[in-house]
């Protein structure tokens, strides 16, 4: 026992941190590779090298821009790929932070009702043309999704404020609200005409095909701001997972922190849902896969879940476009198809339990 000294501990701790950083770096490398490869898929025969050249020229060497390539990459291919990247990041971050703050491995934007709320809002806008502040088009849908995503969050906050309730109660009230919103969405769908129903259905299946630079920007802005705030709070999240009493004893009001986090996460999740529909699994599973490899220290879990979530969604989207080309499967189907066996396999193989 006594031969284990301080230097040894520090060096093995540093190795442990290095492993985590390496995981993130590997994910980023895969992301770049997927960007290159995914941009080559389509009728214009570009090679990955062409793609990287085109991207480089677009930003740093304007004189060498090849008009056609630039148009193909930046107008046709990249909006979808980059939207997948930021959406995966946001969902990964939202899931990781939500699991930690609720101290529950089942927590994610979907099981807390936030996605369902957003989905209901968007269905109202798309199906019935009901929007707020006279906003039309996509901004009308976005605002509706945002506003309705905050309703489940508000219910969760209200329930947990009224009684001194645990994190488990929060997630239960979230699930209850989820069922309610799903039911409401079904009612609206039943009342719709065939064409509106098709539009609602198209939107709701969870897909990246409608992505534009606008969707990229909105998701990226919320993801970036939310991600930075959550990273800054990652040490507090580490305190939170050691229990509410201990958190209070360390000067942290667990309840207030949860409210703040819930609002941030709701906005992040809603920004994704209103453009892509409900893409299940990424928010729930990406953080858990990361936990298996890296442990639950939120300082690394959050960025790693962002990176891994992005990879998972981008690869899924790539597969969804190629597997039965020229038609495609919705990405939500693929994330479940890849995510489920991968997750189950890791659960069985994992040397230790993380929950």
């Amino acid at each position: 026992m006594s031969d284990y000294d301080s230097d040894e501990m520090v060096s093995s701790y540093n190795k442990y941190v290095f492993r985590k950083l390496l995981f993130i770096v590997i994910c980023v490398v895969i992301m770049i590779a997927v960007i290159g490869y995914a941009s080559t898929i389509g009728s214009a025969g570009l090679s990955p090298i062409d793609v990287y050249k085109t991207i480089y020229n677009h930003f740093f060497n304007k004189s060498a821009i090849n008009g056609t390539n630039d148009w193909v990459v930046f107008t046709i291919r990249l909006p979808r790929i980059m939207t997948g990247l930021v959406a995966g990041m946001s969902l990964g971050i939202a899931g990781a932070a939500m699991q930690s703050m609720m101290k529950n491995p089942l927590a994610d934007p979907y099981t807390t009702g936030i996605s369902s709320g957003a989905s209901f809002g968007a269905t109202l806008a798309i199906g019935l043309g009901f929007t707020l502040f006279g906003l039309g088009g996509s901004s009308g849908i976005i605002v509706m999704a945002f506003v309705f995503s905050l309703i489940p969050a508000a219910v969760i906050i209200m329930v947990s404020s009224m009684k001194h309730t645990s994190a488990a109660t929060m997630i239960l009230s979230g699930i209850a609200v989820m069922y309610l919103f799903n039911a409401l969405t079904t009612i609206i769908k039943l009342s719709l005409s065939e064409t509106s129903l098709a539009a609602v259905y198209q939107w709701s299946i969870g897909d990246l095909s409608g992505s534009t630079w606008e969707s990229f920007q909105v998701i990226a802005i919320f993801g970036l701001i939310g991600g930075v705030i959550l990273m800054a709070m990652s040490k507090k999240l580490n305190i939170l997972i050691t229990g509410d009493k201990n958190a209070k004893a360390l000067g942290l009001d667990a309840h207030k922190l949860r409210i703040a986090l819930l609002i941030i996460i709701s906005l992040m999740a809603a920004s994704v849902v209103c453009f892509t529909g409900i893409i299940g699994f990424v928010g729930l599973v990406a953080p858990h896969i990361v936990r298996i490899f890296l442990g639950s220290d939120n300082r690394y879990l959050i960025p790693a879940s962002a990176a891994f979530g992005a990879v998972l969604l981008m690869v899924s989207d790539l597969i969804s476009r190629t597997i039965i080309a020229p038609t495609f499967l919705p990405v939500g189907v693929i994330t479940a198809f890849i995510g489920c066996p991968m997750f189950l396999w890791l659960l069985i193989k994992a040397r230790k339990s993380m929950w």
């Binding site: 026992m1 699991q99 580490n238």
Partner: protein, 284 residues
């Protein structure tokens, strides 16, 4: 670890941790009840202002944990005040209260497991710095070593036994070397050897670090052997306060616990031989 203070957060007014000012913790008419009609605690008035190892004893459900939770504001008292250096904790932010108080919960509520190092580090930091400083790691190591669990440093918290959990939670509460430490039955899952070792370590802390250590304990003989003072709680109030010889009497054990025991004195401390449980007298 008890040498020079390398506490980077605190204002380094003193060279040596033994020279730091002692905390003054005053409880005045403290009352707490989940149901206002039936308070768990009432009329608790006491001042802690000596560097001593104080054990709180009393039957189950009598309000021992509630009392320490009122001191560090985990619970808000429903009556009376808690003053820390003259400041009413009701008007202080949680963070200000937490600054001077270390806390070791009775049970682990840890959900997602961190490594032991990271779990203990949680007790150290409450700031926005992202990284891990080498000096923090060294402090964590010293604390783990003090409790002889340094070999567990890189293990995950949920891989450990209940006794090891308790030691890690102890390390988390002690790593900051706070001037007041509140411990809720920190040795309940330890074997007797480790109970003795941990209690001995805690008993030495007040003098070595000029701090007040308050521990809830059920082990009557270990408490009798190491406590400087014992606070006996019964029916929501303080039944007795004093040295083990003063508090652990045949009458007290009968009145408070409903236990018949013989007390023998050894080296100025009581040694309790438990005989049998007896009906608790109706009125004290």
């Amino acid at each position: 670890m008890f040498g020079k203070s390398n506490n980077t957060q605190a204002e380094p007014e003193y060279e040596n941790i033994q020279d730091r000012p002692l905390l003054n913790v005053e409880l005045k008419d403290l009352e707490f009840g989940y149901d206002p009609k039936r308070p768990v605690l009432r009329n608790i008035t006491h001042t802690f202002n000596t560097p001593e190892f104080i054990c709180i004893m009393g039957p189950n459900g009598v309000g021992k944990s509630t009392l320490i939770h009122c001191i560090n504001k985990i619970l808000k008292p429903t009556g009376g005040v808690v003053l820390i250096n003259g400041n009413d904790t009701a008007n202080m932010k949680l963070k200000e209260v937490a600054k001077d108080i270390g806390y070791v919960p009775a049970q682990s509520e840890d959900s997602f497991p961190l490594t032991v190092v990271d779990t203990v580090m949680v007790g150290l930091q409450n700031d926005f710095k992202f990284g891990t400083r080498k000096e923090d790691l060294e402090r964590v190591y010293e604390t783990l070593k003090m409790l002889s669990i340094e070999h567990l440093a890189m293990r995950d918290f949920n891989e450990l036994s209940a006794g090891q959990h308790q030691k890690v939670m102890l390390a988390r509460g002690l790593v900051r070397q706070p001037p007041l430490v509140l411990l809720d039955e920190p040795t309940s899952n330890l074997d007797i050897r480790h109970q003795i070792e941990v209690t001995k370590t805690l008993a030495q802390m007040p003098k070595l670090t000029n701090s007040i250590v308050i521990m809830i304990s059920h082990d009557i003989n270990i408490t009798a052997k190491y406590a400087d003072k014992i606070m006996m709680i019964s029916k929501g109030g303080i039944y007795a306060y004093g040295t083990p010889m003063e508090v652990l009497t045949k009458e007290a054990l009968r009145d408070v616990y409903g236990v018949d025991a013989d007390i023998i004195e050894r080296d100025g401390r009581p040694h309790i031989i438990l005989n049998d449980s007896i009906p608790i007298p109706k009125e004290v």
